[in-house]
């Protein structure tokens, strides 16, 4: 029995093997037998009896991983869908003979600029999430403002309700629900996007906590960060004396406000993989207003 074999290229296999679905590719019987001297052409004989069914041709098989020895017959071909390798069986043994995975393509064209952003086209599409966020139990908070004062003492060295970086929503005595609301350390911080000093200027990510922090050296006091904070009231504040914005920086991971809270309403939640709070492309995330 001979097999038709022309070349060993992938394309040759493909010509013969189309479609590569494991159907019998080679159909029909192979030509066999001897030849004698040519005689005179006789009358056309009556059709002979139908011949016996021929044996199976070579087949294509597919599967995940290398083919098992029990799969197929000699002459069959096998495609490993895991890695694109092609195998052929001969002498009851499968042997890898080719691979149909193409070479790496050329680099694609540059994408369009992100929509809705400010002037900061240099900011990457995402910044690392914060690893911590302040969480307030609003039913437990009784609006004492001890956290605000603890913050101003720890960070500014003075007592001030204006210089604390966590402040009350609602005027305590005239609003039924008055409690504090901290910066949510947004996953997609709009404050960083709109800061004209760029993502490594005034507003940056703290390397230890991931908090979104303001570096006063670079702040120009434009207050765009405050205007674009997605929360109402904003979680960034303006210092009229220094003419700079300021905000919660999680105290490097040991928030002063949490330690001072008398009721335990204020807690510090951390996640080493990042906290999913504030704005996401799909809408407000965990802890949204």
């Amino acid at each position: 029995m001979s097999e038709e074999k022309t070349g060993n290229t992938r394309r040759d296999f493909l010509k013969k093997a189309a479609p590569l679905t494991g159907a019998a590719i080679f159909s029909g019987a192979a030509l066999v037998g001897c030849t004698g001297p040519a005689g005179i052409t006789g009358p056309t004989g009556s059709p002979g009896p139908q011949g016996e069914a021929g044996s199976d041709g070579s087949k294509w098989h597919t599967g995940s991983g290398a083919p098992a020895a029990t799969v197929g017959s000699d002459g069959d071909l096998y495609l490993n869908t895991d890695d694109g390798s092609v195998w052929q069986k001969a002498n009851s043994t499968w042997k890898e003979v080719d691979n149909i995975t193409g070479p790496k393509g050329d680099k694609g064209d540059k994408g369009d600029a992100a929509s809705g952003g400010g002037t900061n086209l240099n900011l990457p599409m995402s910044v690392p999430p914060s690893k911590g966020v302040l969480v307030v139990d609003k039913e437990l908070c009784f609006g004492c403002g001890v956290c605000t004062l603890a913050c101003s003492l720890a960070n500014e060295g003075v007592g001030s309700m204006e210089l604390g970086r966590i402040q009350k929503i609602g005027h305590n005595n005239y609003t039924f629900d008055a409690y504090v609301e901290p910066c949510m350390q947004c996953v997609d911080p709009q404050c960083m996007r709109v800061c004209p000093t760029g993502g490594t200027g005034a507003l940056k990510v703290d390397p230890v906590t991931g908090a979104r922090v303001i570096d006063e050296k670079f702040c120009v006091g434009c207050q765009k960060c405050i205007q674009h904070c997605i929360y109402d009231p904003p979680r960034i504040f303006y210092n009229k004396t220094t003419k700079k914005a300021f905000k919660c920086d999680l105290c490097g991971g040991d928030p002063a406000c949490v330690k001072a809270c008398p009721s335990g309403a204020l807690k510090y939640y951390t996640n080493p993989d990042g906290v999913n709070t504030g704005f996401t492309p799909l809408g407000l995330g965990i802890g949204g207003a």
Binding site: E139, L140, G159, S160, L163, D177, K259, A260, P262
Partner: protein
């Protein structure tokens, strides 16, 4: 920002007659005169001549804050108001009263340690103080048209939500003698009738906005003291913790210790009139949160807020009338109406125990309040529905409550008589036949209710007078009331004379060692355990009362809220003692940057108390004894027939007190005044012929 540590640096003086606004450097008075109540006494001494009437332009309305307020120190939301007080009877003199809330902080953030307001505006005005810029503005649309709530809301619309407002309601505008200045939602300068003083000046309100800050010498130390304070007072996770040194030795569920029954977290509760959301509220820098806020979802009552026992002063009468659960609708309406009209709850409220108070046995019952006197008068047929215009047959009802409060605040009909003060009202009744044949009994009843004899009576009696109304002698409380200028000035004297309250609450933690433990505290802070003996009127008692008055002055001057050292949650109070009485020494040291110990503090306290006494002397004290009670008080007995205040024992203790104070017959001597740096005071008293020889 002031360069001084703790202080804001300026005192604001406003003359409403001329419109002149001036600023005085605080360094003229501070730190020598401490702050708060101590500063108020000095400013009054300098500003108000003895002949000035309480409701006349020459009287000065003085507001003071203290060095700890606004620094970030906890439990410091207290400020003082002082002036010649219309409530005192038969003669007017100096009185100083405190209020909680954000007022004291905001003053300092606006740049001021004190306000002095004199004169009288030609038409109704309000003061607008905006970070050091001061204006006198027209109050025409507020005066005669708004209560305190309405005035505050109007001013917030004009000047923003974050302002603090001190204002009067119709009671102050109408110069009701016991009207108040409301400074915060449900807090007020309540005792003295300063609402009337403000009304007499045509001053409707003072609005402040302060965005500044206050410096401390050692902010890191301040943070440490705050942490210690929080461990002692704060109530994390709904528990009051009992701490021994640094170890938590036990916890007590907040509901069993907090007599205010304020829920730990906002929750829906079922009260007498349906479901409401209740939640705790607090002053700035407070660790405790003693206020209650309520919100009825069905809108059946406006959202409101109440402080301390205010809600309790009508729930007894309401239950008497309507039956049913306590703290029903009328109690809430009572507290809101009272606030809005600007009236003092103690003068127009009822006994908070709920049961009817009989004047004859008031020494056995709980304290009585102002209205209890008039109710008793009705029972005796002295006040009728006809001659008083009050629906007595419906006492306790909403109708009665509203009629009573409105007629007093607006001085309508018989309300005009009441509004002139209990003493003058009693005198009026006794002189008019329409009040029937029993009207002569009013004098006795008045003396039981307003026990202080002499020139400067007129303050209602208080719970501490006789061991919280349990009919047990309380020598410290009695002496403290006699010599002090105020009713029930916190801290209360139970730690000296009523140990049972504390020992029993310590028992779950110390077992049979509770009494011994408490005795340690008494010794450490008062130098004696004898105060608990109802028959002891000796030297150690006098000393303990002096120490107690000094602690009280520290609360009023530093300032430091009295709830930080004297909790009704008695289980935790023991450990406050082990740290220091109110952490005042530690806080002042951190803020001022000096070593302030109790000895130095006592010097400041003595200076204030002597100056207050000197004012009374200048105003007429030496016309007769004031550190005493009416005869009927000395006749009160406990249930076994023993005198609650035996005259001989009382006078012994009083003389020992005067001696230890360095006074002669209740008047400071020159030696004492000079020791305290008050030579000028001694000179002035001498010139008036009032200094003891």
């Amino acid at each position: 920002m002031s360069e001084m540590y703790g202080y804001a640096g300026k005192i604001l003086k406003v003359d409403l007659t001329s419109g002149q606004i001036t600023e005085i450097p605080s360094s003229n008075y501070l730190p020598k005169h401490f702050g708060g109540r101590s500063l108020a006494a000095k400013l009054y001494w300098d500003e108000v001549p003895p002949e000035a009437g309480a409701l006349e332009p020459e009287n000065a309305l003085i507001f003071t804050s203290g060095p700890l307020a606004g620094t970030g120190a906890s439990m410091t939301a207290v400020s003082q108001c002082a002036a010649k007080a219309p409530i005192l009877y038969p003669s007017q003199s100096y009185h100083c009263c405190s209020a909680a809330g954000a007022w004291g902080h905001e003053m300092k953030y606006a740049g001021y340690d004190a306000f002095i307001i004199k004169g009288k505006a030609s038409k109704p005005v309000y003061l607008w103080i905006n970070d050091g810029k001061v204006e006198i503005r027209d109050a025409g649309r507020l005066w005669g048209r708004t209560g305190t709530r309405g005035a505050r809301a109007e001013l917030q619309k004009i000047h923003g939500d974050k302002i603090q407002v001190a204002c009067i309601g119709p009671a102050g505008e109408n110069q009701v003698v016991f009207s108040v200045i409301n400074v915060d939602c449900s807090t007020a300068y309540g005792q003295g009738g300063f609402g009337a003083v403000m009304g007499s000046k045509n001053l409707k309100a003072i609005a402040i906005r302060g965005t500044g800050s206050i410096k401390s010498a050692d902010p890191a130390k301040l943070i440490e003291v705050n942490e210690a304070s929080r461990r002692l007072i704060g109530m994390r996770d709904g528990e009051v913790r009992v701490i021994n040194g640094k170890e938590v030795v036990g916890t007590v569920d907040i509901d069993t210790t907090d007599f205010l029954r304020v829920p730990d977290r906002a929750e829906i509760v079922e009260r007498g009139l349906g479901k409401a959301r209740m939640r705790r509220s607090a002053c700035p820098a407070c660790l405790k949160g003693c206020k209650t806020k309520w919100e009825y979802a069905d809108g059946s009552l406006p959202t409101g807020s109440a402080e301390c026992g205010e809600l309790q002063m009508w729930h007894g009468p309401e239950q008497d009338y309507y039956g049913g659960l306590p703290f029903g609708r009328v109690s809430y309406q009572w507290t809101m109406t009272l606030d809005d009209l600007g009236l003092d709850s103690n003068s127009v409220g009822c006994n908070n125990r709920g049961y009817p108070v009989k004047i004859e046995t008031v020494s056995h019952g709980a304290t009585s309040q102002g209205l209890d006197l008039w109710r008793e008068a009705h029972r005796k047929g002295i006040l009728t529905e006809e001659n008083s215009g009050l629906p007595w047959s419906k006492f306790g009802s909403k109708e009665f409550m509203e009629q009573w409060l409105y007629m007093v605040a607006h001085r309508k009909g018989f309300g005009d008589i009441i509004a002139s003060g209990a003493g003058p009202a009693v005198k009026y009744i006794m002189e008019h036949e329409e009040f029937g044949p029993n009207r002569g009994e009013m004098e006795y009843m008045y003396q039981k209710e307003y026990p202080k004899a002499g020139e400067f009576g007129g303050i209602p009696r208080h719970t501490l007078f006789h061991g919280y109304g349990y009919g047990q002698a309380a020598p410290a409380g009695s002496l403290y009331t006699a010599v002090g200028s105020r009713r029930g000035r916190k801290p209360i004297t139970y730690m000296i004379d009523y140990p049972m309250v504390y020992v029993s609450s310590l028992m779950p933690f110390y077992g049979d060692k509770a009494a011994e433990k408490f005795a340690e505290f008494q010794t450490k802070f008062y130098g004696t355990t004898k105060g608990g003996d109802p028959a002891y009127w000796g030297e150690e008692l006098a000393k303990a009362v002096i120490i107690h008055e000094n602690y009280a002055n520290e609360c009023d001057s530093a300032p430091r809220c009295a709830f930080s050292g004297n909790n009704f949650g008695a289980a935790d109070m023991s450990e406050h003692m082990s740290y220091s009485m109110y952490c005042v020494e530690e806080y002042l040291s951190a803020v001022l940057g000096e070593d302030i110990n109790q000895e130095r503090l006592f010097l400041l306290d003595e200076r204030c108390i002597n100056l207050e006494r000197a004012i009374w002397v200048r105003d007429g004290y030496t016309n007769g004894p004031v550190d005493t009670f009416f005869d009927v008080i000395f006749e009160e007995t406990d249930s076994t027939g023993n005198r609650l205040i035996p005259r001989e024992g009382f006078e012994t203790a009083l003389n020992l007190y005067w001696q230890q104070r360095g006074w002669k017959n209740g008047v400071p001597t020159r030696a004492k005044l000079e020791e305290l740096g008050l030579e000028d005071v001694a000179d002035q008293l001498q010139a008036l012929g009032k200094l003891p020889i």
